[in-house]
């Protein structure tokens, strides 16, 4: 077991399922065509493969295949949705509402919108990471064109009240966009059912390949359009030019098909393993705090702070064989801890002490046992070294100390 690598960073990226790789292989050499080549069998084969994948992906989210616009990934899809709506609906208004815990792809696109003369409201979240629906409704003005709220957060797994947000957007005639990168292929997602008009997601978070994602764009009631951000051959109904990544799209489609068949059982199994991991750590170690909502949460994620232990240092005790992610970045470039955890109201110290565990399809029970053991040893090692832990144990009020911030 010692030599084996344990991967608990599935929110960063998932391994490609071997069945996905197998489906992709013929499209590198045997079927090399460009899906836009309409006049020979190579092109026809590629187009057919893309059409089939588009259907597989549409099926997974109960959408029409014509509503799937392929992109290079979720970041591009987020950018296309936000900037594309801002341009397309500029006559209607210039105001966008989003939340402070969104992914950088959304937040940075919104900052660009502000530079382009738009206005953006960044909603706060509560201690569980959820937005306040009254605050959302109060923020809507006659200039509001888009509400962009992620389906589930990448760091904590907290799931937003999508249906309720959809109702508010519907009531005010505002488009609703969601970054659903962390949910599609993991739990049932039906944008139409909750009133989502634009939805970004990607292959490599659902056991598909990297470099391919999609934007769902609602076609009927209302018919939504976005201004293309990439000019060229007018691919993807004019919304995203560029030769289609045929092998990637085929893999993405296969991943969607497998997810449709297996995500229910994956979710059930992983939530048990996740609960075991979380309970095991909290039983073995004092002063553990679970970050984000435990009630509205993705089944495979837990984010835990180990008080008075710095996350990056802690990771070094086990990162030779366990891969996780920390909300602490100890570099001179960014001493800032995770902005998502700060938005939840965590102190900087707890945010620096956080570790995100994200399980996946290939996570085993033995790996969870090993991880509980390794983490417990690691946290104890770091606490033996920690002057703040010693002070805490002696009953010193840490907040009363005048620290020399450097």
């Amino acid at each position: 077991m010692d030599k084996k690598l344990i991967y608990l960073d599935n929110n960063a990226t998932t391994p490609c399922d071997p069945r996905v790789v197998e489906a992709m292989l013929p499209y590198f050499y045997q079927h090399p065509g460009n899906a836009s080549s309409r006049n020979h069998p190579f092109g026809w084969a590629a187009e057919e493969a893309v059409d089939y994948a588009r259907e597989q992906i549409a099926n997974l989210i109960s959408a029409d295949p014509k509503e799937i616009i392929f992109t290079s990934g979720a970041t591009e899809a987020d950018n296309l949705a936000i900037k594309g709506v801002f341009e397309m609906y500029s006559r209607k208004g210039n105001h966008i509402i989003t939340a402070k815990t969104e992914h950088k792809a959304v937040l940075d696109a919104c900052q660009k919108i502000e530079k382009m003369g738009g206005e953006v409201t960044y909603l706060d979240v509560d201690s569980e990471g959820l937005i306040n629906l009254d605050e959302l409704e109060a923020a809507i003005t006659d200039k509001t064109i888009l509400v962009s709220i992620m389906w589930a957060n990448n760091e904590t797994g907290t799931i937003q009240p999508m249906k309720e947000i959809g109702v508010i957007c519907e009531k005010h005639g505002v488009l609703f966009m969601s970054d659903a990168t962390q949910v599609v292929g993991k739990i049932p997602v039906n944008p139409k059912e909750v009133g989502v008009h634009l939805m970004a997601f990607t292959g490599h978070k659902m056991y598909g390949p990297k470099g391919v994602g999609a934007l769902f764009v609602n076609r009927k009631n209302p018919r939504v359009k976005v201004t293309s951000q990439m000019d060229g051959g007018g691919h993807e109904r004019g919304m995203r030019s560029g030769t289609l990544n045929v092998p990637g799209i085929v893999g993405f489609g296969k991943a969607a098909e497998i997810a449709g068949q297996e995500m229910a059982q994956d979710a059930e199994r992983l939530s048990k393993l996740r609960d075991k991991l979380q309970a095991g750590l909290c039983a073995a170690l004092e002063e553990c705090y679970v970050n984000g909502s435990e009630e509205n949460r993705m089944p495979h994620v837990t984010n835990v702070s180990f008080k008075h232990v710095e996350g990056e240092g802690l990771m070094m005790t086990f990162n030779q064989n366990i891969a996780v992610s920390s909300g602490s970045a100890c570099t001179s470039a960014s001493l800032e801890p995770s902005y998502v955890l700060i938005a939840l109201g965590l102190g900087d110290d707890l945010a620096h002490s956080s570790i995100r565990f994200s399980l996946g399809r290939f996570t085993t029970d033995e790996e969870i046992d090993y991880t509980i053991d390794a983490l417990t040893k690691g946290v104890n090692h770091m606490r033996d070294l920690s002057p703040i832990w010693e002070m805490y144990k002696e009953g010193v009020d840490i907040d009363s100390i005048e620290w020399s911030a450097h």
């Binding site: 100890c330 620096h352 070294l385 450097h406």
Partner: protein, 139 residues
Amino acid sequence: MAYSEKLLEHFKHPKNVGTLDKSKKSVGTGLVGAPECGDVMRLQIEVDDETGMIKDAKFKTFGCGSAIASSSLATEWLKGKSVDEALAIDNMAIVEELALPPVKIHCSVLAEDAIKGAIKDYREKNGIVAPAEETGSSH
């Protein structure tokens, strides 16, 4: 980021972890950094009254691997040095010894500050006036 063998060794098996009795006149304590910055370093020295040499040094650090390794190395270097020699320890020597990557240089700065802080505390306790050029930290 790949770390040097020396850094990993100091991280996994840190030297001189612990606490000296700060109420003793012969012990100087330096506490630098802040929890919200992600690193806090406490470095202590015990000076031999008769020889003026540092006979013991201990540390505890909350922080990343580089911060822990820097403080562990600093305590190793302090032992057996006079206070004046200890003051001459430069953060760049720590950077070199541990092959710290550029983004971790601040960890070595913290260690140097902790050494200076411990010496300042020791001198204040014992009514030793520091030479003027040594009072300010350049960081």
